[in-house]
């Protein structure tokens, strides 16, 4: 059995998870801000984004990026399989991140926001200096759960030929006619989620606001 393949797969899985987590956090914050914006049209755009991505399967998103976008003829949209996976996973997860952060915004007491606005801070300044720091802190536990779900979801990237952990395990399994290698890959996935769960606990104890 080829352990180096599994090792390579783990690295790709971790890269995918890290990049799409960053992307989803950035996009998620933007969408959450849109949803609490003082303009009905902006709120509606944020709402459409979350509703759309929350109600379609991730696999459809990945297939759209990988099989459909190259057909537009736009050179910019001709992405490698890995980039497709990062964008697909990132944009999909961003919808859930946005919901979590919006809940965080709602948890910030109204007096805080009103005080900031009456001190002369603009809407974006209030978000940046008053609401977002508090919202992110109270959103740490659910964001952690999303990170673990994202790590599990990266296995779907194997379906668009990204050589991640699941892809390598399936490859070895097909070559040796022994699907039990998948169980080993499963154990590796569990082992990868454990340190994440531990780190979240640590961050939570240090920074989180109890809701």
């Amino acid at each position: 059995m080829d352990w180096s393949l599994i090792g390579q797969g783990v690295i790709v899985t971790l890269e995918l998870t890290a990049l799409s987590a960053v992307l989803s956090l950035v996009v998620g914050i933007v969408v959450a801000v849109l949803r609490i914006a003082p303009n009905a049209a902006l709120q509606w755009i944020g709402g459409i984004y979350t509703e759309f991505f929350r109600n379609i399967p991730l696999l459809v998103v990945l297939f759209f990026f990988y099989y459909a976008l190259p057909n537009t003829g736009i050179a910019l949209l001709r992405l490698s399989a890995f980039s497709c996976a990062v964008w697909g996973l990132g944009l999909y997860t961003a919808a859930y991140v946005a919901e979590v952060i919006r809940a965080g915004f709602n948890a910030v007491s109204k007096g805080n926001t009103e005080a900031a606005r009456s001190l002369g801070l603009s809407f974006l300044q209030t978000i940046r200096y008053v609401q977002l720091p508090q919202a992110l802190r109270s959103a740490i536990p659910p964001l952690g759960t999303l990170l673990i779900a994202l790590l599990k979801n990266t296995s779907l990237a194997s379906t668009i030929t990204v050589a991640d952990l699941f892809f390598q395990a399936d490859f070895i399994g097909n070559r040796t006619f022994n699907p039990d290698i998948l169980l080993i890959a499963g154990a590796v996935y569990v082992a990868l989620t454990l340190p994440i769960a531990g780190a979240i606990n640590l961050v939570e104890r240090r920074w989180a606001i109890k809701r």
Partner: protein
């Protein structure tokens, strides 16, 4: 500032629920039409999708998706109840295996579970494998694709996975009940079994009804993973169509819209139920987010 310049009647009209709903519907229609423009989709590529054969082919997939999701959620409930009761049991040799089962299943990627069951248990089907060209009546084709190897493997994997998630959900429902409920039932002389059956579980189930519908939405989405092992559900059938007609973008867009409509309706049902029933506090189900 614009809001202050608006006269009171104008604001009243915009905020009227019917007008609001109409505006939102118009907006959604605009969005549905805008996406094809942005991605330069061609009307000629949409056409092959709206022929009678293609629609019949896709609706078979849609029904297969829905039926397998319903099977999985119904079959998962008895197992989930046992697991939840096992997990809160004070006896360690009952609770520990249940905890292990729940936690391991929840931290495995679902795709891995589906692949493993498909490869390890090749004899799940009671039919010979159906192929795309099979002939037969609508209902025959539906039943054979659901009971094919791919469909059965997907269903079994989803059942076990959903049982683990629902067990946690049910546990949060049970924990959200006041302790007095169980204590009162026991001191009235009800046995453990009677307490659970007549007092605790009915209330817990009512409280998790809305999150259960949310879980069903996730099931409908997760059924699409069956496409990878050859289960002829909605996504797989879409793939077959676009490989014939060379229109992946348009087909995937239509497929996405079908999933969206199904799940959006489920989401509305969930909101309706949550408004009528006492529901578990969201903080208890937060860590179950399973996407």
């Amino acid at each position: 500032m614009t809001q202050q310049n608006q006269t009171a009647p104008a604001r009243a009209i915009i905020q009227h629920p019917a007008v609001k709903w109409l505006l939102q519907a118009l907006g959604a229609a605009a969005f549905i039409l805008l996406v094809p423009l942005v991605f330069k989709m061609q009307w000629a590529n949409f056409k092959p999708l709206f022929t009678a054969t293609s629609l019949r082919f896709l609706s078979l997939g849609m029904l297969a998706t829905i039926v397998v999701s319903i099977e999985a959620i119904i079959l998962s409930l008895p197992l989930a109840t046992l697991l939840a009761l096992g997990r809160i049991s004070p006896i360690k040799w009952i609770s520990w295996p249940c905890i292990a089962f729940i936690e391991v299943l929840r931290s495995l990627p679902l795709l891995l579970l589906i692949f493993y069951i498909n490869l390890r248990f090749p004899g799940l089907t009671i039919f010979a494998d159906v192929s795309v060209g099979s002939k037969g009546s609508f209902i025959e084709l539906l039943i054979t694709s659901i009971l094919s190897q791919g469909g059965m493997a997907t269903m079994v994997a989803l059942t076990f996975y959903t049982a683990a998630v629902n067990a946690e959900l049910l546990r949060s429902g049970i924990l959200s009940l006041e302790r007095g409920q169980a204590e009162a039932a026991r001191s009235l002389g009800l046995s453990y079994r009677q307490t659970m059956q007549h007092v605790i579980l009915p209330q817990a189930y009512r409280r998790i009804l809305a999150p259960l519908i949310a879980q069903f939405t996730i099931l409908v989405k997760d059924t699409s993973l069956g496409a990878i092992i050859g289960f002829l559900e909605l996504l797989k059938r879409g793939q077959i169509l676009y490989q014939r007609d060379f229109n992946p973008m348009e087909t995937l867009y239509v497929i996405a819209l079908i999933y969206f409509v199904i799940n959006y309706c489920l989401g509305l049902t969930q909101k309706l139920v949550a408004r009528r029933q006492p529901t578990v506090p969201k903080t208890l189900t937060d860590n179950l987010a399973d996407i």
